[in-house]
Structure formats: C-alpha cells, structure tokens
Symmetry: C2
Subunit: 509 residues, 2 copies
Amino acid sequence: MLSIDPRTGGSRGPAATEATAADVDTAVRAAHATRTALADHRARAELLRAAAASLEKDGAEIIAAADAETALGHVRLTGELARTCHQLRTFADLAESGRHLEVIIDHADPDARPAPRPDLRRCKVPLGVVAVFAASNFPLAFSVPGGDTASALAAGCPVVVKAHPDHPRTGVLCARALRTAAAQAGLPGDVTAVVHGLEAGVALVRHPLTAAVGFTGSVRGGRALFDIASARPRPIPFHGELGSLNPVVVTARAAATRAAEIGTGLAAAYTQGLGQFCVKPGLVLLPAGADGDAVVAAAVTARVPSGPLLDPRMREAFLAGTRARAALPGVEEVLAAGAAGAADAPLSVRPGILSVPAGRLAVGEVHRALLDECFGPVTVLVRYGCEAERDAVLGTLTGSLTATVHFAADERDAAAADLVARLTQLAGRVVVDGWPTGVTVAPAMHHGGPYPASTSTSTSVGATATERWLRPVCYQNTPQELLPAELRDGNPLGVPRTVDGVYVLPAPC
Amino acid sequence: MLSIDPRTGGSRGPAATEATAADVDTAVRAAHATRTALADHRARAELLRAAAASLEKDGAEIIAAADAETALGHVRLTGELARTCHQLRTFADLAESGRHLEVIIDHADPDARPAPRPDLRRCKVPLGVVAVFAASNFPLAFSVPGGDTASALAAGCPVVVKAHPDHPRTGVLCARALRTAAAQAGLPGDVTAVVHGLEAGVALVRHPLTAAVGFTGSVRGGRALFDIASARPRPIPFHGELGSLNPVVVTARAAATRAAEIGTGLAAAYTQGLGQFCVKPGLVLLPAGADGDAVVAAAVTARVPSGPLLDPRMREAFLAGTRARAALPGVEEVLAAGAAGAADAPLSVRPGILSVPAGRLAVGEVHRALLDECFGPVTVLVRYGCEAERDAVLGTLTGSLTATVHFAADERDAAAADLVARLTQLAGRVVVDGWPTGVTVAPAMHHGGPYPASTSTSTSVGATATERWLRPVCYQNTPQELLPAELRDGNPLGVPRTVDGVYVLPAPC
C-alpha cells in the first residue's frame, strides 16, 4: 500500500503490505484465541484507557502521518485525536460499569400464571471476532482506533481492522499504539490486528470465525460487503454506515426572519472538512421567492475554504459529480464548484452550490441524481413554492443519518410538529435550528438511520454502539457457582440489574 | 387453502383463499396507513387487551378449529390460548409503561469535553409494517395472534401475518378476533391483516412498505425468505427462528447418580407435543458404559405417547428422516420410531431413540445428518468415552435455541463451569438440571440463538422482543413543543428515562 499525498497526488512510498487470504486467516484465528483473556471487564477497561494514553503519547507522529495522508490539517486532526481518546475512555467506563450487559433477573415463581416460572437470569455475551472497516474521512475516530474498535473491545470482542487505503501509514501507527496498550493491560497483542488491501477485506468478511462487521464508507462498497455477509453459510450482522443526503428544510417563516444567519450557517456546514462528512447537508429545501433568495445570497457570499480532497479519485468523482448535476435541465450553478489548484496543493477544489426548482424533481428520473449523495463541498438547494411541494420532495427521499429543520423563533405550531414528524421518518437524528455536522459522543446520540444511511437499526456513536457486538443469553435454574459473576446473588461485580421487574443500581463502592 | 385433518389426511374443504400479489399490496398499504392511529401507546395497550379478551370469548371455537387442524389436543391448545392471551396482556403493559422506548436524555452542556454538548434526547420509534410468518407447531402462540404480532403492535407497528397452511381456519378465526379488538380499541381494523399462500408470503417480504419480518419455521423456508429480505433494494431486518438441535449433556457423575430421573425426564421432553417443539432436545451426549446404559434403559421403558404429527408431509419427513438416520453405520435404534396407525388416527407415529458412539461423528460427513434437526418425536443419543470426546462433539455443533446440562448434585467445580461456558457459546438459553421444553414468558427469557437457531441476535419471547420492531431517533436542540411527549421536560407520559446518566423511574401515579 502506497502512502499518497492528497495535496499533490505524489507517492511517499510503501507504507504497508497487502494481506493475503492466509494472512487474514492467521489474524482472525489469533484474535479469536484472545476471547477468554478479553472476558475480564476490568482488563478491557484498562486496555481502552491504555490505548487512549498510547495514542496521546504518539500523538504528534500520528497527526503528522494522518495530515500527510488526508490533508485534513493539524487543527482538525488534533481535535479528532482528542475525540478518539475520549471515545476510548467512555467505552472503558461503560465496560467497567456493566451497563452494556443489560442484566435481567427473574427469580423462580412457582405460583406464576399461566405457568410456574423457573429462575431466569439474562445477560449479554460477546459475539466473537469483529471485523472493522476504517473510513476515509476520519483517519482516527472512525478508523483503526475509532468508535467501532472501541465499542467492540468494550463488548469483549477481539477486533481485526481493515485499514483504509487512503491512510495506510496512519493505520500502521495506530495499530502499533493498540498493541502497546494491550501489553500494558496484560492482554495478548492479538486482541486487535490491522490488515491492508481490498481482497483482505473481502476475506475478512467471509472468514468463518468473523462474527460481525462494522463498516463506514460508500453505498457501493458497503452494499457489496453487506451482500457477502448476508450470503455466507452462516450470515453475520453487518452494521454499515453507507451514504446520507442529510436533508435540511428551511421554512418560509424561517427564511423570512433569519435569512442571513441560515445562509451563513449553511455555507459553514456544507464546507466544513471540505464537505467530507457523512453528515454534510447535501440537500436544502428552501422557499422560492425573495426570502429564500436572501438565504442563497448569504450562502454564496460567505467565505468558504478551498483545499484538497482525501484522495485524487475522490476529487475526480467530485468534479465529475458536480459537473453532471450542473448540466441537468433547470439546474443553476449559483456558486461554481471546480478545480482550484494552489502552488502547495495543486489538487485543491473549491466548493459549489447548485439550485433547482422543486418541480423539476417531480418530473422524472433524470433529476434523481440530485438526491444521491455527492461527497465533497457541494450542496443542492431545492426551491419550493408551497408546503405541499416541499413535502412531496421529502416523500421521495431515502434514509439519512440526519434531517434538519430551521424554523422561525416562534414557529411551534401543529404544522411545525408535523414537519418534525416527517423528518423523523427519514433519519436517525433530527436537528432543529442548527446543523448536523458535529456528532457528539454522548449516551443519547444516535448515529445511524434508515437505509442507505445504515444497514441496521444500530448506532456507531454513543453508548448504545456496544449493542452491535453482543447477544443475550438466558440461564435457567443455574446454580450460583456456575453463573457468570454478573448474574450471581449479591451482585459481586456491582452492575445495574433489573430484578423481578425493578431496576436496581449497584451500591456505591 | 384447504383445511386438512392431520389425523386422517382428509380435507374439510376450503378455509381461506390464497392472496394474490395485488391482495398483499392492498393489505400492506392499508396497514401502513394505520401507523398514525397506532402511535398512541394507550390505544395500543387497549388493542392488545381487547385482543386477549376477544380470543378468550371465541376460545371454544378457536380451540376446536385448531385441534381439528393440528391434532394438538384440547388440553395443550387451552394452555396455548392462555399463554397467547398472557403474552398480549404482557405486551400491553409494556406498551403502556414506555420501557421499550429506552429514553435517554442528555441536557446541553457548554462545558463538556472534548466539545460542547447540545441538548440530545433519544427514544425509539416504530419501523413500520411488520410481516409475521405463522408457525406450524404453535397455531396460536406463534401464529396470527402470537408473540411476533403482539410485540410488533406493542412497538407501534401494523402487522400483516402470512398464515400457516396447516391451520388456515384457525388463522381466519384469529384474524376476526383481532379485527374485533381493533374496533373495540377505536383503531382501524387494518392495523392487522392476515394473508394466505406461499406466493403471498414472498410478495409480503418483497413489498417496499414492509419494514421488518418475524418468522418461525424451517431452516430451508426461513433462509429462502432471509435471502429475499437481504437482497431487496432496501434490505430489511429479518428476525427468523429457523432450526435448533438443542443439545443436552449428561455428565458422567450425573449419569452415575441420577440415571433413572434423567432417562425418564428425557423421554417426557423429546416426546412432549410429539416432539414438535423448536426446543425439543434432539441430541443427548451421554457417557458410554453402565451408568449411561441406565439412563437409556429408563428412557426406553418410559411410557411415551403415539399420535398424529401436524401434517402428512411432516409425517413423511419424520418417517424418512428416522429411517435414514437409523441406517447409518454404527447407529443403533434403541427405540424404533415408526408409523402407529390407530382407528381414529391412521396417520399416527410412535417416538423413537437412536444411539451412536461419539467417535462415529468424528469420522466423516455421512454422520452429519445426525446433527441436523429431525422434527418430531426422535432424539439421538451420542455416547462419549471421555470429556475430550464429548467436547469435540460440542465443538462441531452449530447454534441452537437452548443447550442443557445435567450435573450430579454436588458437581459445581471448574470443569462444570467450563462446560456451562461451552454451552453458552452454542445457545441463547442454558438450562441446568432440567429440560428446555417450556419457554416461560418473562422479562429475562431469551428465545433465540446463534445461526441457524436465529438469523439475528434478537428474541421472539420476553419483553425484549419489541426491540426487533423499533429504531432509535435522537432529537438535537428540539424545542419542547415539537418533541415527542416521552422526551419532554416533566415526563408527561411517565416513562422511565436515563437523564444525564441517571436512570429515573416515573413518579407513581
């Protein structure tokens, strides 16, 4: 795997070797063999905290490598490293708390109706080796040491990551940090492994000991791997985050009262990280007429950054995608996207905004391209004449990670509630009077949405992300000595449990 | 669809009409249109309770129809109806409690690290129309008014059931009871619908508005539908319960101390409901030698029932399956299964027990047939010489709903704990010193297991069964008036919530 400079397209030489099917087999078997060692919640927590510390220790080197391979810049990557370490520590806390075990205990009840009840004790157990596919656009937070890896380890699952070809050297450095952390936590180094190469990824999904997959990437690549996972003799869960349009609705009253603020906010949102976020607002339903025009004017005149995209192939796709969309009948290029070569970054691009009357989207298939995600700094304004026309467009959209609405300050009526309900149907996160970029790591976060945003109902961010790597098991009439510790009387591990219908928090230690 | 008498194979005439693709389209669209009406938790609870009352009111007629179509007998079917109504009422309580919404609220925190936190409020929303496939062996509890239907309605999802061809008239009567209940609850009748016919089932899984599938049935049928669900342009969750061997291990010390009790218990367990339970113990690992022989002797001499299976096709499969297994080299027929025609039930069969040395299973592919589920009253004893041989057999098994172990009274050592851990890898429920038949409806129950027991990590019995039909949504910075009631300050619906990391029960009303 060559390490490529996205600013120039030049190669910095080989950074990693593509794994063969035999290499993948070795890695998965070695990871599988660490399951027993990982069964100890406290060792897992220690591993996750050591991983955060190890990444911080190597931070300067990792950030330099990631910037050289992604051109995302030191400020952004410093923030991303902090977020990555925060995720690791959050999942360490979760692993230690035992909340993810979702313990339910129903004591025996010989008088229960309609039938006597045996002693039943349920907890969750790890699925086994988890395959993680690193994302191009988050070389740390959604890659080798990212949320999928952290949540899988917290759940007790060994992890084999398929590194992203856009940043192989970053992947190698992060893999080293994870192995160092395992040694510090007294765990085998093979609890995590990293493999490189397209074929290695396919072999990883096909491997009989791979128990689940976490993926962040394109619809085409993700769907191909989902199909492989589903067609296995033993199908496995495939938690994929694929593509997302992230529609935004600006109501007529919002445009009438907050045009400049919304336009400026939009310009910042669709160009943040050069539009290379899965939650970039890619479609904005904006009223036709003067109020909407004022929003457009503010968006067009806002200062937006030019810069290189993550890789030359993505740049070609962006330039071709914006050209093709701009050429559709009725589509206006209100801000022209294009190449913007600079001396130090000849592959730079500049952001763009397209605009189309909502009526055009109803006419035929040709304009459907406007409803497909176009990765990079471009957004499509859809100008609607009335609410019915606006809602008709919403009715044609597929699932997204987010859906956003901008209201006027006092717009809190039944029509507003109806619009929020419509957006709920489309997405896993509904944002009001803000922008979807920025995915907070918090217990209530949900980062997922109806297909193609996700291939499952799960989240890849937030505390509930561990649910993806666990399955419940119920023990019936099992003697105390033979039960997992979290299910024993007296609650020796101090985990929260629902006992005979009552949620019981552990006593503070 | 003809209603067939499984005792004689004779037809009682047509009971229902096969649905065309157009009929399925109509039913799914009509169900989809009821989603808003079903959004009211209290109306759903009322519907579920009215359904239980309606089924009880029509109980005599329903039980008579079910017995005529399944030959399961009045005692069993009376119990199954009670269980079905209990399930409906349990899910009514759940819908009313709001526990299934899994509300998490994180208030805004401008000082949060590494980034300020917006106000985030997460709950769960219904997926949409759920397709339910009725099971042959539970004409009530896992069919039209069964657990899949009850849990989906509790979650707020309209349901279209594909009735089982073994009991079409029972399905028609139950469909009528559900429509009556909807009217009583003030809900549209189309919140549930029932369709008949194989092609209708396929059309149901393919329908664009079908959002998820619940299935109980064979590996072949279930896998075919799983493949269709996964290959859709928009794949949908397929929660299938397919096939299960339900292994039982009898330790050497258990056989030495409890042979008669275990043998008698086994005879009752594998013949209960004529072996037509998904949790029938189909494989028993039993020590070689005199102690194990004593278990066999007790099982062989126990009195076991003969009777008709659920349908003539199943009878043929049972007779052919037991014949083929008995003909394998080294397999002994310690109790010969076979046809057992009686005057009033010429299609009856009698139970059987096969036995094979564990070493045979290691030799080659031909004996793999013994590790496939054979539906009906037959079980396979695998006689092992040592623990390593026993564990080698366990290592070759695929997933099951249950795994059972019989220990001696004081057998609580590390080897016993290791055996429980091995069984945990194989199944969704581990039973100690008992039998897996009998699936208690209780919060801690888990009815599911690694593939092919289930196609997902979900359960079809117990409170967590609703999770299958919901997806999370997070609302970011959303004004109070526009939030769903369960997320508003003051908790007007009184649902349990996790607020800023603390689980908060509603105040008692």
